[in-house]
Symmetry: D2
Amino acid sequence: MSTFGNYFRVTTAGESHGKTVSCIVENCPPGLSLVESDIQPQLNRRRPGQSAISTPRDEKDRVTIGSGCEFGRTLGTPILLTVPNEDQRPHDYGSKTIDLYPRPSHADWTYLEKYGTKASSGGGRSSARETIARVAAGAVAEKWLREAYGVEIVAFVSSVGNIKLFDDRPVTDSDDIDSLSSNPKFLELVDSLTREKVDEFLPVRCPDTTVAKRMEDKIAELRDQHDSTGGTVTCIIRGCPSGLGEPCFDKLEALLAHAIMSIPATKGFEIGSGFRGAEMRGSRHNDPFVSTPADDATPSAGAGIPPSRLQTKTNHSAGIQGGISNGMPIFFRVAFKPPATISQDQTTARYDASGEGVLTAKGRHDPNVAPRAVPIVEAMAALTIADALMAQHARQMGIKIAAARR
Amino acid sequence: MSTFGNYFRVTTAGESHGKTVSCIVENCPPGLSLVESDIQPQLNRRRPGQSAISTPRDEKDRVTIGSGCEFGRTLGTPILLTVPNEDQRPHDYGSKTIDLYPRPSHADWTYLEKYGTKASSGGGRSSARETIARVAAGAVAEKWLREAYGVEIVAFVSSVGNIKLFDDRPVTDSDDIDSLSSNPKFLELVDSLTREKVDEFLPVRCPDTTVAKRMEDKIAELRDQHDSTGGTVTCIIRGCPSGLGEPCFDKLEALLAHAIMSIPATKGFEIGSGFRGAEMRGSRHNDPFVSTPADDATPSAGAGIPPSRLQTKTNHSAGIQGGISNGMPIFFRVAFKPPATISQDQTTARYDASGEGVLTAKGRHDPNVAPRAVPIVEAMAALTIADALMAQHARQMGIKIAAARR
Amino acid sequence: MSTFGNYFRVTTAGESHGKTVSCIVENCPPGLSLVESDIQPQLNRRRPGQSAISTPRDEKDRVTIGSGCEFGRTLGTPILLTVPNEDQRPHDYGSKTIDLYPRPSHADWTYLEKYGTKASSGGGRSSARETIARVAAGAVAEKWLREAYGVEIVAFVSSVGNIKLFDDRPVTDSDDIDSLSSNPKFLELVDSLTREKVDEFLPVRCPDTTVAKRMEDKIAELRDQHDSTGGTVTCIIRGCPSGLGEPCFDKLEALLAHAIMSIPATKGFEIGSGFRGAEMRGSRHNDPFVSTPADDATPSAGAGIPPSRLQTKTNHSAGIQGGISNGMPIFFRVAFKPPATISQDQTTARYDASGEGVLTAKGRHDPNVAPRAVPIVEAMAALTIADALMAQHARQMGIKIAAARR
Amino acid sequence: MSTFGNYFRVTTAGESHGKTVSCIVENCPPGLSLVESDIQPQLNRRRPGQSAISTPRDEKDRVTIGSGCEFGRTLGTPILLTVPNEDQRPHDYGSKTIDLYPRPSHADWTYLEKYGTKASSGGGRSSARETIARVAAGAVAEKWLREAYGVEIVAFVSSVGNIKLFDDRPVTDSDDIDSLSSNPKFLELVDSLTREKVDEFLPVRCPDTTVAKRMEDKIAELRDQHDSTGGTVTCIIRGCPSGLGEPCFDKLEALLAHAIMSIPATKGFEIGSGFRGAEMRGSRHNDPFVSTPADDATPSAGAGIPPSRLQTKTNHSAGIQGGISNGMPIFFRVAFKPPATISQDQTTARYDASGEGVLTAKGRHDPNVAPRAVPIVEAMAALTIADALMAQHARQMGIKIAAARR
């Protein structure tokens, strides 16, 4: 489906060569202050080499609000967001071999298998332009989350190829294994990292001067080799109210996994202690509860969902226990595969299965997508939390009213 | 939600101390041969130390078909499956400290935050008994997938703590990194592993005599230390038709991630090359196409979805490209955290935030859940593929008819 | 689908000859007092000749709560309700002709067309027993609506054949036409009718001694003629909070129409002024607003949704304007066709289209279903309002919180 | 929700004073020939005094396909359709009293109750412009239905005020009552009426010269009286395949009722024999089966769903039995209330409940909406059938494949 969410719901449309990429956001609460300039910064960050705080160099990927707002406020009705495509002519990429060969590890072949028809752009909706609609919708969700609950969502690049911000190999072969969720340097980022800080490390968006430099060098090296590499993005959600996530199939981590693994090129998702957590002892992995300090109310204090009376001393659970948020920070990590488009000739089979041949390379391509994926990951996280919040509210007021009348 | 799927849809109910755990399976195609003994084997495998091929020792967790079948065939109407709880009395675990302290890394606290009420069993639907309904529904889905398409789904334990069937550390620090999807030993399992073979390695379900022995020893060691550890389960889906998965939010890997990460205690999901794939070069990661050999028709040949004319030489994509299946085997890996229930006293906070104290340990507990998770992972995979198949069929016949009339 | 509702959601299962008729109610707010005896009365009223206030003659159609409740309170988790079938043996009605001929205006033929298989009971889920699950689920919804909001739902029989409680023919041929929504006698019922009052008029449930007697006579006459007739049921919803109904496809009247027209044997639905309203002048049909008297707070005053500051002087809109409730009473009318099962021989075609013949009659049958439809209509109304309330709450708290932080 | 359908799914957006009215159509089968001129005729028919066969006088309400099509064919991806608003400036209707008084029987008040905010256009999405998106999406659905299955959908005006094409009063007071479904003149229309024929009777779209003239006179008379009146629209669906409609809550008549009652200003829906059917005898109402003549194959013969082997001699069921289509023509009738906007002053209450006053009339208004509702009713019927068809296909191919492998 091109629809995400049951309550706070977005439907997207648009492929590379149509007139527009667009989305309709349903059920955004009314009365929210919302204009195009609330959305444009994340669209700018999604474009290559851009930062939310820098002035965009040009007017590309400009979003328009087509409905659902009046005098700068949401009406509660569906919000249409459109971004025009610059190159709207359907074509075949001006290449002979691309007509004959489905590109390896692209969606050209599977779209044909699914739909029995071939978009001129190859994989139709698998184009990276599709993610524009996610980012636009996500910006609306996070405006609401921030204004109403003080939720903050920040993602950053945690690895490019085998250059990693945090070493993920166990220090020992003993059983006293720890995961990222025990790393003090990481936990400091969990508490304090901002988007502005992340964008200081452009173009790679890895918040460490030394590692960021190594990542830039690695990307340059692969570009020179006409090759590509993957990377990981880590995302932090602060101030998420407790009680979100719907047992048993819509646990909060399941909804996040669905959202994140729907981003093109993702190959893995881990939350909290993640895969390394599977190697830990239970006695080390369990997060003991402590009382919430009186002066440590979450940003949403006083609002609809009061801050949790309890916190956890450690946070291997990454703010989710039994599929439900507990108010502690949520963090997860995403793996992106190396881009399939490389500037090398590739031997592969013809569409008609009549034999193999060489798909010729054309032009220069981005050898790594992780930095641009940062705002996309943030958008999908925001859409997930907004939807889970509305699900919880649907139940919650009913509880309150029933209690009040008893 | 307690509902999974849009087409092939299951709704589950039941916590530890109610009368039953149950589910309703909607939209199962009619005319499918289905009796209780089609479902019971997987329920037996879910119980400790059981195998599908062995005779269950007793009559526990017996499933009953309450509707939707007649004379051993499905009617196309909703199928009610129920399994009685043996201990139906709501109680408080007979412990004083468990009334005062939410158990660390359990769902006791978050269920209270979400619902404002406390089930006597603590985390309500977070109980492991909830998974009985998944396994029962999954057995119906896979009966259909096997009979109609020849799909085979097999999961196994790939690690227990830091004992791993396949080493996941890169062999070199060079860029020529490979992932599990390049490992010949693993690829052989992808092609040939059966559930019968997996169950030969009970109690750990890891298909390697040496490694299985080390895992058993590790589990025994942790039991003696009153501790627990996590593990990973790897799942293989063979014979999945091409064309499944709905762009853009319901990519097949996103649906699988959602399904799998909704299983209790999961912390990570990776598909194909996974996290290691993020370190690979694109030229190494891309899967070149080759023509499908004439004699290598997939098991569903002749059925509704013909076998794909093309295959891939390598399979880092794990059978999914652009979110859509290509007919090659699908495989993914799941991380399970160490069980939170351990036989040690734990210091933690009181429900009422009035201070910390010691939650006392009681009884002996299973120090590892991976072997029992095997049929649960298989069930969720089956439900996902069945739902995606029906989504594709909804569209597909429309295409065929339109084409026939042109 | 066998699922109704997006928020307060019920999934039903069961046909005549399976073990049980059942349903799972999802998302019922936690903390609601709920035991079997809250549900049983409406099931009793659904049975022939029964009243909620009379002691049921026997133990038929006894409901069991299988999960989702503990110590007499809902947990917020899915509630399984089951009612056993008394005659669980699949059979062919012991008739020869019924094997050869699909019964006219039954679902025998269309179920075969849809599913390609034939339940021994003929139309599978089209059996009247299916409605047991609706009534059980509806009783849960209305318990919540009554306790938390003071909503009252009362239905009654408004016609049997051409015996009508209210004449629906226009008094004049002029343009000054009025509808039922102008009838003082009807408006009095809208304000005051109770289920207890309705059941005083058993067996027909038409709250007028004279008309009820004529209806009884009509039914007796048709029984003697081995024939049947239809009827209408009118339903009143009092105390419904304002603001319910989701523009634009899920207007409250559209949701009610969906719910009601899913009841077996319904042929029409009209709300407020209805079909007669289409003949009225706009100046007569418009409902002018008046201020709500200070002492006339709705029963839900003080609860989550405050009473509307405005009321309408007339109520041709039946409490819904622009698809959204305005706090005034809602009322609608439903047409039920004559039961297709009659005690006469009928000439019809064979299943195999090999020619016509005579389907022989067997036994005695109920010549009118309207009185038993009363609790079914109430149940579907309750499920609709409960779902719409949760949809509104999902949005509402978000509005409040955003406003509080501005 | 602003979303309709589960499989063939449309999401709409746009109110009177935003930039555009728009919709996204999801899951339209790929390969369908589709350009703007397939959609524009129904949008033209929706405008006052227009016909599909006449050239539109101007370029108003022009639709643009923004995505999902290439080279005049659908890609299977979401189709964005947009229609610009001509007057995009939010304003307050330039009236003083309209700022103070919610208009009687409009949605001004209920939108404020629901959303806590007021669109300058009053009722936000309750504007008639919202229906543009329905008509555009419906035109796509019916293109597919017509091309792939030969389905024909034709609606017409059956009454304006108390001027009726068919008298709906019973001819006798005996029990031998008949409904519209027995009327030979109506049944002839069921078999033969076309949209071209209906548009010959513009401006009222009632296919009878004498009655149409009386309707025109009635509308003129009401206009002179600064008043309005309602009307009914009857819709016929020919060539609908058998087997559509999902037990038990999504019976085909329930889905149609939902779809139709979501159209602004509707007050009633009846199908087949309708409310009059509730007065008939069962022996007269039952539709006996007959074999389908060999030469009378439905237009979809040879396509995915073969024509039903049986037909019915009469058709009081209107092509639906047990909630499932049987292949016979479907027909239903819709009541529209008189437009609430009238050119008279009206006494009503202030928004702030501070007292009553006079809402002054402004300009001239359309005293009857039935003729323009015709393409809207057709659109909602088409969307309903398209969605039901895909639901059935989802199940159907699974049945076929399972059967083939047995």
